[in-house]
Symmetry: C2
Subunit: 154 residues, 2 copies
Amino acid sequence: MKECKLHYTDSIHYELEQTSRLMKKLTNQLFAKLEIGLTMDEYAALDTVSVNAGICQRDLAKLILRDRANTGRILDSLEQKGFITRFIDTKNNRLVRKMGITEIGLKELDMINKKVKEYLEGVTKKVNPADVEKVQEALRSFRIELEKTVEFNI
Amino acid sequence: MKECKLHYTDSIHYELEQTSRLMKKLTNQLFAKLEIGLTMDEYAALDTVSVNAGICQRDLAKLILRDRANTGRILDSLEQKGFITRFIDTKNNRLVRKMGITEIGLKELDMINKKVKEYLEGVTKKVNPADVEKVQEALRSFRIELEKTVEFNI
DNA sequence: ATAATATTGTTGTAAATGCAACATATTTTT
DNA sequence: AAAAATATGTTGCATTTACAACAATATTAT
């Protein structure tokens, strides 16, 4: 106990990074196993679009925490698969590409949401059923604070 | 409130992913600002090596949750910068490459640890000083459970 | 009015990452 | 003893990602 918590590997930041890395791996494995025809990121984007109908690309980029370039590419893929439609509209007098989820996309999303929820709840239940909510809430306030601190020019 | 929590974007998994993504961005910005001559990942690896003297590459890969290929590449860079030394040894009668941190590496690590700790504590303090420990502990047990669930063949 | 700045999306490029395949060597199975 | 499986590290490749540069348009400043 010579050095108390001076290591990065003892910090909450590191713990967060490691846990997230595992979580991502688990989700990838789940998607492969269930033979889901979307990547994790396309799925997250689709879910975000479904609850933000008519959002434009840049605003979506801010929500999914990617840059505009990659957001565009993810949307290309979702559009090509027929899960979203894109259309030109205006926002503050500027031309933007807005989007919405399609019938097919909504059906696919609901299906995946059910499958994924069922499977992933198995994980959280095993952990600490009572505290999951609390941790999620704490993570959220942590994230809100991070959003104030991090420079995010998209 | 038609659908209660059926969205991925309402799940703790998504919250974790988003928070981690922001955290990574913040750390990258910090490293750029402080002109630290290591990537975040090299730093995490170096810190891990420093508390696991004589570890072999594969075991390190398991700790930092990367595959063997990238672990090797990270170590190439750390070795080239003179922060670690690598040497051949045996483990279970097999030849392996073990490693340790150098004097220079230790000095650099201590310096970064101090800088980073100071800066990052600013973030956690603003959030919820009392609960940080609790969240970190919950994350840890969550991670431990994930480690049981995720297939990780390295 | 003209210039400077800001918003939005796309393209190009370099770096990071994971996965599969390979090469060696050792252990286990038959 | 031979064959199959395992452990370890490296190389090659395809995917993902971020960042910078660009194009087009609209707003703001001079």
